[in-house]
Amino acid sequence: MNISLTRRYRFAASHRLHTAKLSEAENKRVYGKCSNPYGHGHNYVLEVTVTGPVDAATGMIANLGELDPFVQREVIEPFDQKFLNEEVAEFREQVATTENVCREIFRRLKGFPQAKLERVRIEETSKNSFEIEADVDALDEVAA
């Protein structure tokens, strides 16, 4: 039997999909209106899934009293109400697509000491979602 616990969090942030590796015309073609120079924003929903043994004394995989402040410190505080391209250092170098945001959040959360991070899933809007799982964690090193 496998068991996992998933917690949902929210943050609101702005971003612009644009890369210096492409010309203005190519940026426009690839990213369309997401490349608008002034940026735009989303209400992101972040789902964090952890696995591990259920502690017999507490009945828990992870205590939310520990998980919540960890996610708050590592992700919500640095991302919420921010312009991701400028205010989160990692997105000065890589495009703040939600694929890359997923990967960066996974990197920030995988050190959670009390349980194993299994999956990070982000709803960028109610129509788009992105997820990354532990076994593709090696992709971290391939960041653009």
Binding site: M1, N2, I3, S4, L5, T6, R7, R8, Y9, T49, T51, G52, P53, V54, A57, T58, G59, M60, I61, N63, L64, G65
Partner: protein
């Protein structure tokens, strides 16, 4: 056009049924001191308890029967969920009224694992694939078949 009936082995289908139940609980480990209980469980340690509207999603996987076109009869699943989950847990206090949870802290993890253990032997058509239990829209636990190792 002829209906292209699926032959056995063609595909695996998953079907999910959702139910809701409301129950009370609190977290307390008698082996912890009062201070430790408060520290570990926070406001969930309130001895008067508190409650949730739990949402349970039960997923069955299998191949549709060639005659009925069904993985299993949803009426049958509905009856199983009624007997095994609703009658045991709906409008109950999980610390006191559910023998399967006796001696365990009624966390979402433990409740989901108990529900898995109750349902798994009752599913005769298809196999129990996943139990997802929402304690709130912001917190859920998934239980699925593993490699035989109990988590």
């Amino acid at each position: 056009m002829e209906g292209a009936a699926l032959s056995r082995g063609d595909c695996m289908i998953r079907i999910t049924r959702k139910i809701e139940f409301s129950a009370a609980h609190f977290y307390h480990n008698p082996n912890f001191s009062a201070e430790e209980n408060r520290r570990v469980f926070g406001k969930c340690n309130n001895p008067h308890g508190h409650g949730h509207n739990y949402v349970l999603e039960v997923t069955i996987a299998g191949e549709p029967d060639p005659t009925t076109g069904m993985v299993l009869d949803l009426k049958e699943l509905k009856n199983i969920l009624q007997t095994e989950v609703m009658e045991r847990m709906d409008h109950r206090h999980l610390n006191y009224e559910v023998p399967e949870l006796a001696g365990q802290i009624p966390t979402c993890e433990n409740i989901a694992a108990v529900i898995w253990a109750l349902l798994e032997p009752k599913i005769k058509s298809g196999k129990l694939d996943r139990v997802r239990l929402y304690e709130s829209p912001e917190l859920f636990v998934d239980v699925s078949a593993g490699n035989g190792a109990r988590a």
